[in-house]
């Protein structure tokens, strides 16, 4: 396998929503800058937006102020958010959306040209081609896009990040990309927990199955400080096909009902606010109904008329075409039968929840030379796609400022060889563990000992300690991973990344001894929210030399 060296000014890892936006932004500000975008798939259809999107859920409508917006996010997250980060996002939301509209994204409007209000902070878009539209904007810049190159580790000289290593899935090359600044924008992590669908449907996930948490894992292995991994995300979705319930609940104003036809949030969960409860209480109530025996739960779509049904289907085709197949028979028609909903397995994301790199307000991570934007950046939940664009803009601006007068770092031959050997190791083995065996083992451990679906998401110390032990021994077995071709090598590397992420996640779950975010983080042994002790961020730093994960607490800042 040949070594392919590339030198550039700014390297963007991940050509998703944040990565594409960052590339465009850099050229807007500094046309002479050299940018490389490293993308595991193809930027036209990669990452969590590959299928499309039908709404932008972070938008500042007239009547809402940045302060009221931040207060809303703070309430949704039980008092723990980085207000400085969320506030910087809110201020840039509308401009970012305007920019993407100019690229070609159709957005529903009022007659006066303003965007039509879909929900309090939401607008309706026709985003089936959102990713191709963003990719086209990148292709108009001189940015060099490396499709089908998967990042494996940062180039790090002990003081700063100066690029990244990558494996070329098509050409089999080993990429050594040096840069003055690196923006990590890879997305969150799916596949850590056993999925709710298995067998042939094992990849019918809410989140992109190829977002393996590599961006987190590379940061962990470099010793970057990570925050709030314990703030997992579990989506309440249309059962099996994961279509967003918001499209029905917000878009079509349907109620959540249980198997008896009761509006269960209002009937039984008034103490959490009934229909106005927090997002995670909506999920918790649905889990409770199932446990009590009043499930399954549904969204009542039987009140829709024919026009509304058609509109709903169009919205889903723009984002989740699978549900259209589910509905394509008389007895499953949503006007005849309410739509069943349930929780997915847990994911780690910084866009809905706040797992990710600990960053300063300019999106510098704790490692010089490394910046984070989008799902991998922590502390700013509910940023969704538009917030990811804003973060990309901030990270790009900071990186451009910081690289002034900066030179490339020297990469020693031994560092390159060491990483190349690590990456190719699964090719050298004739027999051993297959990537699918490793994945299934990880998912089973996490499901059973770290609060997966089979445990109704609940956690407690003894099980978590067992998860810690089992993950450590699973990690030690990963030297026996076998890959037979480039495709399975990528699968093998994903397993290693997911295990590194899962180990940090479990430490976070052990550390927070209270119940802060129901379902996302429910401790059976500490069932109460404890504001006196735990109104803090739980952060972690991994030490590669000792293989230890050190926990640190950070105070809330204003």
């Amino acid at each position: 396998m040949g070594i392919l060296p590339i030198d550039t000014d700014i390297l963007i890892i991940g050509g998703g929503a944040a990565g594409c936006f960052a590339a465009v932004e850099i050229y807007k500000k500094s046309p002479g800058c050299r940018v490389v975008v490293m993308e595991k798939a193809h930027i036209e259809r990669s990452g969590c937006l590959a299928m499309g999107l039908n709404a932008i859920n972070a938008y500042l409508h007239a009547g809402e102020t940045p302060e009221s917006y931040v207060a809303y996010v703070e309430r949704q997250f039980e008092g723990i958010i980085r207000k400085d980060l969320v506030s910087s996002i809110v201020q840039g939301l509308n401009d970012a959306v305007k920019d993407v509209e100019k690229m070609g994204l159709p957005i529903e409007k009022n007659e006066d040209g303003t965007y039509k209000m879909r929900g309090k902070r939401s607008i309706r878009i026709f985003g089936e081609r959102l990713k191709p539209i963003l990719a086209e904007a990148v292709q108009k810049t001189p940015a060099r896009v490396l499709n089908r190159v998967v990042a494996t580790n940062f180039i790090y000289d002990g003081t700063r990040v100066g690029g990244a290593f990558g494996f070329g899935i098509r050409d089999g090359s080993f990429y050594v990309i040096r840069a003055k600044a690196v923006i990590v924008a890879t997305g969150g992590a799916s596949g850590i927990y056993k999925p709710h669908n298995t067998g042939e449907a094992r990849h019918l996930l809410w989140y992109c199955p190829w977002n393996a948490g590599t961006g987190y894992a590379m940061g962990i292995r470099t010793g970057a400080e990570m925050t709030s991994f314990e703030n997992r995300f579990i989506a309440l979705r249309v059962k099996d096909v994961n279509a967003p319930t918001g499209t029905i609940a917000v878009g079509a104003r349907s109620k959540q009902i249980n198997a008896r036809g009761e509006d269960y949030l209002e009937c039984y969960y008034k103490h959490w606010g009934g229909n106005r409860c927090l997002t995670h209480h909506r999920l918790l109530a649905t889990v409770e109904e199932k446990k009590i025996g009043r499930g399954p739960c549904y969204l009542d779509t039987t009140t829709l008329n024919e026009t509304e049904e058609r509109r709903l289907k169009e919205d889903f085709l723009n984002m989740n075409p699978q549900i259209i197949l589910l509905w394509a028979t008389k007895e499953m028609n949503p006007r005849k039968k309410p739509v069943e909903i349930c929780g997915t397995e847990p994911f780690l994301v910084g866009g809905h929840c706040q797992a990710g790199y600990w960053v300063d307000k300019d999106r510098r991570t704790t490692i010089p030379g490394l910046y984070a934007a989008g799902e991998v950046a922590g502390g700013a939940p509910k940023k969704y796609v538009s917030g990811s664009w804003v973060e990309a803009r901030i990270a790009a601006t900071t990186a451009l400022e910081d690289i002034k007068g900066m030179s490339l770092i020297n990469t020693g031959e031994d560092t390159i060889q060491r990483e190349k050997t690590r990456v190719l190791h699964p090719f050298t083995r004739k027999a051993g563990i297959s990537p699918s065996e490793a994945r299934e083992r990880l998912q089973k451990i996490m499901d059973e000992y770290a609060g997966g679906i089979s445990m109704n998401y609940a956690l407690h110390e003894e099980r978590l300690l067992e998860a810690r032990r089992l993950l450590k021994s699973l990690k030690d077995r990963m030297k026996d991973l076998v890959a037979v071709n480039n495709y399975s090598l990528v699968e093998a590397l994903e397993c290693i990344d997911r295990i590194d992420v899962a180990r940090v996640l479990v430490e976070h779950l052990i550390y927070r001894k209270e119940t802060r975010w129901a379902c996302y983080q429910t401790r059976l042994d500490y069932p109460e929210k404890d504001n006196r002790r735990w109104l803090v961020f739980v952060n972690s730093v991994y030490h590669p030399k000792t293989d230890e994960i050190l926990m640190v607490e950070r105070p809330l800042c204003s």
């Binding site: 019918l204 169009e314 008389k330 499953m332």
Partner: protein, 109 residues
């Protein structure tokens, strides 16, 4: 089954270094077999994202759901126009429904 490729329609994207479905699949699952027809590497790895379905210029690929999730036998195809996406759904009873959806503003719109 998540996608099904009709070999009588697939032309293998002749002349292209990489087939369109192969180029686009976010999971790197599509490839060209020796007979130049497209195939999917692993049905169980499919996200059913329909990216390949949309990308195929001759509509050789249709989206289905794995049987464990849906036994309807329904299927979905798509055609891309510069500014619109046209979807066709075949339901369990054999009816066909079409959706024409704005997907992009072209310059000058």
């Amino acid at each position: 089954m998540s996608i099904s490729i009709d070999e009588t329609i697939c032309n293998g994207c002749k002349g292209l270094p990489e087939a369109r479905c192969e180029r686009i699949c976010p999971g790197d699952l599509c490839y060209r077999k020796e007979n130049t027809k497209a195939a999917i590497r692993d049905q169980s790895a499919c996200w059913t994202c329909a990216c390949c379905v949309k990308e195929c210029p001759v509509q050789a690929i249709e989206l289905r759901l794995p049987f464990q999730i849906c036994s309807n036998g329904s299927s979905l195809k798509a055609r891309l126009k510069p500014d619109k996406t046209i979807w066709t759904v075949w339901d369990a009873e054999g009816h066909q429904e079409e959706f024409i959806i704005q997907a992009k503003w072209l310059k000058g719109d």
